[in-house]
């Protein structure tokens, strides 16, 4: 595909509490062995987009660690391949730090974006997992002669509403955008089109749109490009109807995680390969006396206790008589004898000592920070 994929590895409206204290949203572990960005990268690669830039803002240590040179995603390339654009690697390094909106992030990385030989750019955020058919999206974009094509959906989010802060869009009968606004209500359940923060645009147009907005000190793609130029340019809508997981909040995250227990979701999500960093884990061992029910278990676990309705990452140990229920357990955690966990998110490298008991609620799970000893 003659396209450059750009992934914003962070979200400006996320609230993931301790989970993003030391990592950016894109490197959040999910579905056992994956990180959020695995889904975005795999979608690009599966649709033949092998030229991908990831824009990082802060806390990207775990992200660069995870991605390495991009081997696992087949993104070590002579042409294109994976580039991680960190703010500090800028030419004018006197202004490190924080971007004031996606336009500034693009502007500061334009020297790198410009080097890509691709004709089109596909932009996506990190917080929504879905599998837009990029081939069809780009073909549609070309066929409809749109200046910018934006992906929208009518679906409700995992929690039954529309995520706060997304763009609400109206289209005419030809799917041309007529109006855009910001969702301010919490859990709007009305029947609206909302934007998935995925855009296609010709690279040369993106360059001039960004340069233009920057020169006026405007930094938000939806507000300052789409809304302002809605009558001058053709913004075309592209409706998406596939699976949709949103991880901007803890409740959304746990909901998205649990949805992988649904065979329908798994079938949809894993229809095409999702690549992730290879850890050379051994197979998981289930010992006498274990009881595992309706759970996702990754390689390298050792299970002697009970696991129900839970998602386990790689290298988790569940000792005898421990009970893990309705929980998301990240990599290399150790759950010792006679522990009980219910509605808990254990971040990486946590140890829960014998006889401890933690219990949260579906709407407010207990989060145990990375590396903690409980």
């Amino acid at each position: 595909m003659n396209a450059l994929g750009i992934i914003f590895s962070y979200s400006e409206r996320e609230n993931l509490r301790e989970l993003t204290k030391r990592r950016t949203l894109a490197s959040l572990p999910i579905a056992g062995k994956y990180r959020v960005i695995d889904f975005h990268l795999s979608n690009f690669v599966n649709d033949g987009i092998y030229d991908v830039s990831v824009i990082a803002k802060n806390n990207y240590h775990s992200l660069t660690d995870h991605l390495g040179a991009g081997k696992e995603w087949d993104l070590i390339r002579k042409r294109g391949g994976l580039r991680i654009l960190t703010p500090f690697a800028r030419h004018d390094s006197e202004k490190p730090g924080i971007y004031r909106g996606s336009i500034e992030a693009l502007a500061y990385n334009m020297h790198s974006i410009r080097r890509s030989m691709a004709e089109y750019v596909v932009l996506t955020g990190s917080s929504i997992l879905c599998n837009v058919d990029y081939k069809d999206l780009i073909e549609t974009h070309i066929r409809t002669n749109a200046d910018v094509t934006t992906v929208f959906t009518k679906q409700k989010g995992a929690l039954g509403g529309i995520p706060q802060g997304v763009a609400i869009m109206n289209f005419d009968e030809n799917n041309r955008l007529t109006n855009i606004g910001l969702e301010t209500e919490e859990n709007n359940t009305g029947d609206v089109n909302w934007g998935l923060d995925i855009f296609v645009v010709r690279k040369s147009l993106l360059e001039s749109l960004v340069a233009d907005a920057m020169s006026y000190g405007r930094f938000d793609f939806n507000e300052d490009i789409i809304k302002r130029l809605i009558s001058n340019l053709t913004f075309q809508g592209y409706e998406y109807n596939g699976y949709l997981l949103e991880v901007n909040t803890v409740a959304g995250y746990i909901q998205a995680s649990m949805s992988f227990l649904d065979p329908y979701v798994r079938a949809k999500v894993f229809q095409r390969p999702i690549y992730t960093k290879n850890k050379d884990s051994v197979p998981t061992r289930y010992y006498d006396g274990c009881y595992v029910n309706h759970s996702i278990i990754s390689d390298g676990c050792r299970i002697e206790g009970t696991v129900e309705n839970s998602i386990l990452s790689r290298g988790v140990r569940v000792a005898k008589n421990a009970i893990v229920k309705n929980s998301v357990i990240m990599q290399n955690t150790e759950i010792m004898r006679d522990v009980t966990l219910d509605h808990v998110i254990l971040d990486k490298d946590v140890i829960v000592r014998e006889y401890r008991s933690l219990s949260g609620h579906a709407t407010y799970p207990v989060i145990v920070e990375k590396g903690s000893i409980v």
């Binding site: 062995k33 227990l261 999500v269 690549y275 289930y286 990754s298 299970i303």
Partner: protein, 408 residues
Amino acid sequence: MPYRQNRQMVAMLLAGGQGSRLGVLTNKVAKPAVPFGGKYRIIDFPLSNCVNSGIDTVGVLTQYQPLELNAYIGSGQPWDLDRQNGGVFILPPYVKGKSGEWYKGTANAIFQNINFIDLYEPEYVLILSGDHIYKMNYQLMLKEHIAKQADCTIAVLQVPWEEASRFGVMSVDNDFKIQEFEEKPENPRSNLASMGVYIFSWAKLKEYLQKDELNPESQNDFGKDLIPSMLSKNEKMYAYEFKGYWKDVGTIESLWDANMDLLLANAPIELDDPPWRIYSRNANMPPQYIGTNAILVNASISDGCNIDGTIENSILFPGVKVESGAVVSNSVLFSGAVVKQNAVVEHAILAEDCIINERAHIGQAKRTEAAEGPKKISVVGQDTVVEAAAVVYAGESVEGIITKEVRE
């Protein structure tokens, strides 16, 4: 290419064997590509041993059904053997001058690749085979070889006397200098068995390879020809005793046994061993899903499995599906095997992508057989479909589409 860096030791892995004693399991793949231990293949063990021993140049000699083996090895990246200098090389037989010649025997395979080895100007050559499960530091063996200024060092281990006649055995003096070597003797005079791991000083090996090639009587085999010939010329040959776990997996029974060893409470070989990791090519599957009806008793299960039945004392490779009501016990299921509702699989090896349909029974004891004694292992070949309610008796190997003997 210029600047080819020399190597102290180059490893040559004999991977050309057909492995006919593994029956249907090697119909479509070479023996070293046979799966083992839930996510590995046999060749992962010698390759990982090489890398973990600091040997970064490995020639893999193939000639039988190498397609899958070659694709599996690929660039060598999973074993960290994708190097700019050295790395892993597939060495098939080829046409020189006007005609080509297949590898006639293990020694001939090395003989035909003298040029390859010479590229690295090694002092020593390590000869390995792709038939064994073990973790071994070849560097320690090399140290011994150098310390003793040996021409050839053969790794050996003590086997039970009653099994000694299955191996090449050697009598050694107090210093482990080899006095006598017998290939599969009827009445073994020693129980030190050759592991098929040799270190040769390259100059000496080359000399004997060239001699051996000129000998029309020779079968061009290390054990049968080259080593006896060196011994008869009084070359300095030593045994190097290895004391860890080592298992020949050249037969269905031994392959099954070695898999079951991994499930023992005190497994004699531990794969979850970061400093001596066994590497393998990643199948890239989603994590496993354990359903609401699953019962798991002492099982090893890999990525991509979908388990809703009973798994007991079994090893499941990536992407195996076991439906509700099905029972899998004392078995090894290769990637993509499917066991449908209420089927039974016991004491069996199921090869890749075979389908055991509803209520079929693999490994059923024949009524005429005594209940005692070790159960015989059943094997279901790759892509085989066992029809609903069909029976495969204990010890049988099947392939294709199996409809026979509908159960009463």
